[in-house]
Symmetry: C2
Subunit: 428 residues, 2 copies
């Protein structure tokens, strides 16, 4: 089931006239026909529309930044032409009047919207039906479950997800693909269902780091591509946060192996001590998230409570009692931690840390834990899952590169450096 498509490679071949956007759509359609009954990555599909568009406008699309590549979008982004369900029975079949800003940007850049990908309910923890392409008995992670799985299974070249806790980096790690959560608000959130307005961040999945950087550059017009020259050797800080013992032995070994490989390839690697405010910030994440979610999902909680997933319902009920003072405190802690992180990163380009506690857990009830992601989401910094390592059972183990706020290109370049050292190591 696992055969991700390199967006960059496809784009180059389309640019060179070797293949057409219609060929790529056909290939994705085949992968969907072969696998999606098992994987369940899509909540809604528009294969016919994408095929028609690729055939009619193929030559024009081939000249656009995204070159007519097929894109999947997490089903918490509103689309006027496809239903938008937010993963919830409350909105089954709902048709908003408007496309989300990011959906319009995909179109402006020449991408083809192939479908909406499965999300957990309102991007929280009540799982959808998606399975992990590496082993359908395992979760693909969440909340951007369908986007990560669709890319891993070669059903789309690029997919959009969001992260509020760990909803990009974790499913990217579990599905063995590159996940890029940019600096806060680099990609617009207009028309995306809000869970926490201070934290929700749109991001991209693609096969590898160069692919996800290519897609980000094409969508935004920013200088984010990293495929045009060999990446410079980065200064890496190996970060073992206070929750390090919660990582599995395999994950701890994976991070340490990635560090050794990078060092052997010329990167400077040093252990960095995270200051104590980060432990407070780790807790502050939940306060900020939940205070905002109780307001952002007020309509659903107040008028459709019995149709919410049990985890979300219980969580919002508890969130009702968070005071404005506790929320303001949490935001102040976050601000202090951001300053501390900026200081810490004066001496390194990026941090290297686990993407998740381990490989994808067995079972579909839980999408796994965002333990190793929440703090960085609160910091608003770019976070990237670097794929390439596996555990003893053959499941992917992702390591995470955390960059400096606004220095997304440097983070992508460092992630590419690590990805390449892993790929060229014996037994990768």
């Amino acid at each position: 089931m696992v055969r991700p498509l390199s967006a960059l490679d496809l784009a180059r071949r389309i640019e060179g006239g070797e293949i057409t956007p219609a060929d790529v759509v056909a290939r994705c359609a085949e992968a969907i026909a072969a696998g999606d009954a098992t994987i369940g990555a899509f909540a809604a599909l528009d294969l016919a529309g994408a095929e028609a568009r690729a055939k009619a406008d193929g030559a024009a699309l081939a000249k656009t930044p995204l070159r007519g590549l097929p894109v999947g979008v997490k089903d918490i982004f509103e689309t006027a032409d496809l239903p938008t369900g937010y993963g919830s029975p409350i909105y089954a079949g709902y048709r908003p009047a408007t496309d989300a800003a990011l959906v319009c940007m995909i179109r402006r850049a020449g991408g083809l919207l192939l479908g909406k990908t499965v999300t957990t309910q309102f991007a929280f923890m009540d799982a959808g039906a998606t399975r992990n392409p590496h082993d359908p008995a395992h979760t693909p992670g969440g909340s951007s479950s369908g986007s990560a799985a669709a890319v891993a299974a070669g059903m789309v070249a690029v997919a959009v997800g969001t992260q509020t806790g760990g909803s990009m980096v974790r499913p990217g790690a579990f599905c063995g693909v590159a996940a890029y959560k940019p600096s806060y608000r680099l990609l617009p959130m207009v028309g995306c269902k809000t869970f926490s307005w201070s934290l929700d961040t749109a991001g991209l999945f693609a096969a590898g780091i160069a692919d996800v950087a290519y897609a980000a550059a094409a969508l935004t017009g920013r200088d984010l591509r990293v495929d045009r020259a060999a990446p410079a050797a980065p200064r890496i800080g190996l970060a073992r946060p206070h929750i390090w013992p919660q990582a599995s032995p395999a994950m701890r070994a994976a991070v340490e192996r990635a560090a050794r490989l990078a060092e052997a390839a010329g990167a400077s690697v040093r252990e960095v001590a995270l200051p104590p405010v980060f432990e407070d910030a780790f807790r502050a994440h939940g306060v900020v998230q939940d205070y905002e979610a109780y307001r952002a999902l007020a309509h659903e909680y107040d008028t459709h409570r019995d149709r919410l997933g049990p985890r979300l319902r219980e969580h919002l009920g508890a969130a009702a009692s968070i005071t404005p003072e506790a929320y303001d405190d949490a935001r102040r802690i976050a601000k202090r931690a951001r300053h501390a992180l900026a200081d810490l990163m004066g001496e390194v380009d990026v941090l290297l840390t686990p993407s998740a506690p381990g490989a994808a857990p067995r079972g579909l009830e839980s999408t796994g834990q965002s333990t190793f992601n929440r703090l960085w989401t609160l910091m608003g910094t770019p976070c990237i899952n670097v794929p390439g390592l596996i555990d003893d059972s053959g499941l992917p183990l992702g390591v995470q590169i955390v960059g400096r706020f606004g220095r997304d290109r440097a983070a992508l370049e460092a992630a590419l450096f690590v990805e390449r050292t892993i790929a060229s190591s014996p037994g990768a």
Copy 2:
């Protein structure tokens, strides 16, 4: 046409059992029947629903924080029970599936949604049909035109608006009511049509400062009321930005008069010099706003361009060429200016500056200029229009109090101090 209702006074009388929520709804219904054919404050009304609710639940509502007071909401906030048109023919009669977070918060606090108030198209500069209650030949200001006019005309006790440039403080000044734009994101924007995600800020209109503070406290559960003790004498910085010459002689005199009155009443008043970065920040506002608007309104621009107002269409067309680099530069300037403002305000509690270039201009084609508001919106600080002064023709002249970020209560208290000194001065 001008007889604003004091929300605080009504709330006290409801609490004391003198009047009921139904009495207040009836009074608002009378004002609407008498005046709205001329004023045109409402885009949609639910008087029958509010009356029924006030009659059925009056006793319970009287115990809520907002005590069943009638509220008007700018028609860029989504409502499931009332049409949401965003001031645009594209969305005439549109019914979203969801209530905006702030609409739910009004309901949670015990407010009654009386109707949706007229906004300019997508809260930009293409005017709606609302007239100024002080003189229907004059604009009420915009973009929160209907909300300011409805409060001034006693059609609601409280109204919600938003500000991206000067869309709260200016119509508050033109209509002679209190307008409170809180610190950025104190009130949630979820379910509000986005123009610029970095700038759009929800706020409240009410008759006077104590009323708007009462409503803000009731809605948020924050300690924002200022009516329980006499306000302390503030340290005021009289701010004449580089655009000061663009203020009318009457406006310049009004600000200077407010400063003298406050000083005579015990406030410390000093001239403050705004650092040069503020001139850059003034220009940066437009870059940030327009770059984001071209993305936030992508669906409307890309698929309904010919149905956009001419000003917005032209503006978005020009915005298309703003580069990510120019946007990032503008955001860096804004950040520097915020630091400079925090330094400046180490020595004063608030700034005193014009709310608008002058009184409401004659005519309905233009809603006036946001010249004296944009900079402060970019700073994210609380901004309050203090009503009470008039020009020679009897039209209101508003002066503006700008507070420190997150110190909303202090800003409201200072605004109340200034309002009281104006009200108790000879010839006010």
